[in-house]
């Protein structure tokens, strides 16, 4: 556990990077984790080179969900949309640098789920 709340995670939680919204954005998506009420929205602006130029996330939730969203937004700036599509669970766990059980994994992966839904152009039903 001490590992789970290691300094870098608490830092991203307390001082989130790229927190906010982008209006207009090239794509946006929002979803929640009904289990715990975590909610994350991600807005992305894409450059002419088809790479992520700007990204912002908003929402609320536990330290793991918010820190992973913050880390993910830092990680994808400058990456092509194809590269973003390739991101996996393991990439998120590598960013966080911790191991998670099945319950907390959902918290950690919420931002990736939201980002991918946005990249793939899935319609936001809300």
């Amino acid at each position: 556990m001490d590992d789970m709340y290691r300094e870098v995670i608490l830092d991203h939680y307390k001082n989130p990077r790229n927190k906010g919204t982008l209006d207009p954005a090239d794509f946006s998506f929002e979803d929640d984790n009904p289990l715990c009420g975590d909610r994350i929205r991600i807005d992305v602006r894409v450059g002419e080179d088809n790479k992520v130029k700007e990204v912002a996330f908003s929402g609320q939730g536990c330290a793991i969900s918010q820190a992973s969203a913050s880390m993910l937004t830092e990680h994808i700036i400058g990456k092509s949309l194809d590269e973003v599509k390739q991101l996996s669970k393991d990439d998120i766990l590598e960013l966080l640098g911790i191991e998670l059980g099945p319950v907390r994994l959902k918290c950690a992966l919420l931002s990736l789920k939201v980002l991918k839904a946005g990249v793939y152009g899935i319609k936001d039903e809300d």
């Binding site: 556990m1 001490d2 709340y5 715990c36 009420g37 975590d38 909610r39 939730g61 536990c62 793991i64």
Partner: protein
């Protein structure tokens, strides 16, 4: 006055002596989700499988006779536990949820018509909301809600005005699984009956924690689950009066619930079997019987008194911690449940940090989303107590919360 000997009781529960990880003993504060099981319950189920396993009813061989006797004797003891007039009034279900669904399907579909009023409360568990929402949608019936006050009690003034709409049924929990509020069922039932309404009581949190007597409760239906009262998962009870149950159409169809089957029709069995289709959870029913024996031997009044003492202490200590806000009535008006928020720290993080010290609490909406909406909370952290919890376990909880504060403060 004799008191409950908690150290002695703890020895009856094998799991309580385990460590969560080396040198970190388990502090189990999640009995509202499910209670731990004493050895006598585990042994009763074990012994059934080792010695008497057979399908019940209709068998003539020795094992079938034994299994049937064990299964039916358990029902008799459960009937006695809630002071039912007869074992025919004790319907085995999968859990309290299924018991409520049984009422909504069987009684509900036979008695609720378009425009009828079904009354629910803002503090119900989803199990006492969703079956009625499904029924109301199907029948085009109306739902009226008894709101919860800021103190976490039902707003009985609103209840009075809802009663003027001549509702058909009032569905209410006897004890909130989040706030711990103990609702005045007797008083509410008297008023419901005066306008001809039925009273569906969710006893999932009350029956495990204090003596419930269906002769004085005022309920027309009472649902509860074994696993929250030291018994196994997979078995629960619906109680109602024989006359009411006899008038209800069967719920699930299949073996055991019939008296006679023809190719195009059937004749339903007598109570209680009429509502028990298919091979039931036999070992679980036997385990439930052992759980009821255990609780009876300890004494429900002792359990209730002891829990009041523990919750009073827990609330006193929780209130010391800056940033903690406890939801629900004052300690003397509630059962052994403390749901709280902790400043801006998400309940998942609270629960995770507590877990590192072996303290098991629950974080989330506890299957009561509308209640959390009412208090504008996405989730809460909930510590709940039972007959085996100690004051030193409360102290462990508080130590853990200070650790959370240090980490997130």
């Amino acid at each position: 006055m004799p008191k409950l000997n908690v150290e002695q009781i703890r020895k009856d529960f094998p799991i309580l002596s385990r460590e969560v990880k080396p040198n970190v003993p388990l502090v189990y504060l999640d009995s509202t989700a499910t209670a731990q099981k004493p050895l006598s319950v585990i042994e009763a189920m074990n012994s059934y499988y080792r010695l008497s396993n057979a399908n019940i009813h209709r068998g003539v061989h020795t094992l079938a006779e034994e299994a049937t006797a064990l299964y039916e004797n358990a029902r008799d003891r459960i009937a006695k536990f809630i002071n039912a007039k007869s074992s025919k009034e004790i319907i085995y279900t999968r859990n309290a949820t299924e018991a409520i669904n049984l009422v909504a399907y069987s009684w509900g579909r036979a008695n609720i018509k378009q425009g009828d009023v079904i009354v629910l409360t803002e503090m119900e568990h989803h199990s006492n909301l969703v079956p009625w929402q499904m029924l109301a949608a199907e029948k085009n019936a109306k739902i009226e809600i008894i709101p919860v006050t800021d103190d976490g009690e039902l707003d009985l003034t609103v209840y009075e005005s809802i009663l003027k709409l001549s509702p058909k049924i009032i569905c209410v929990t006897q004890m909130s699984n989040v706030l711990g509020t103990i609702n005045p069922i007797q008083q509410m039932a008297a008023k419901a009956h005066a306008v001809g309404a039925m009273m569906m009581v969710d006893g999932a949190q009350s029956v495990p924690h204090f003596a419930v007597d269906v002769q004085t409760l005022g309920a027309d239906f009472l649902a509860f689950s074994a696993h929250k009262m030291c018994g196994p998962t997979g078995i629960g009870i619906l109680w109602s009066r024989q006359q009411v149950l006899e008038a209800m159409p069967p719920f699930l169809g299949g073996g055991d619930m019939i008296k006679r089957v023809y190719l195009r029709e059937f004749k339903a069995n007598d109570l209680p079997h009429k509502f028990e289709a298919g091979t039931p959870a036999i070992a679980e029913a036997i385990g439930f019987g052992a759980a009821v024996d255990y609780l009876t031997a300890v004494g429900m009044d002792f359990i209730h008194d002891y829990e009041r003492e523990i919750i009073a202490y827990a609330i006193e200590r929780l209130e010391e911690v800056p940033g903690i806000k406890i939801y629900g009535p004052k300690a003397e008006r509630k059962g052994g449940i403390a749901a709280f928020s902790f400043g801006g720290v998400h309940p998942h993080d609270v629960a995770q940090i507590l877990d590192s010290d072996g303290v098991a609490v629950r974080a989330g909406h506890h299957c009561a989303m509308p209640l959390h909406d009412r208090f504008k909370l996405p989730a809460t952290t909930r510590a709940s107590f039972y007959l085996y919890n100690t004051k030193s376990e409360v102290d462990k909880l508080i130590e853990g919360l200070y650790k959370v504060k240090k980490m997130f403060g």
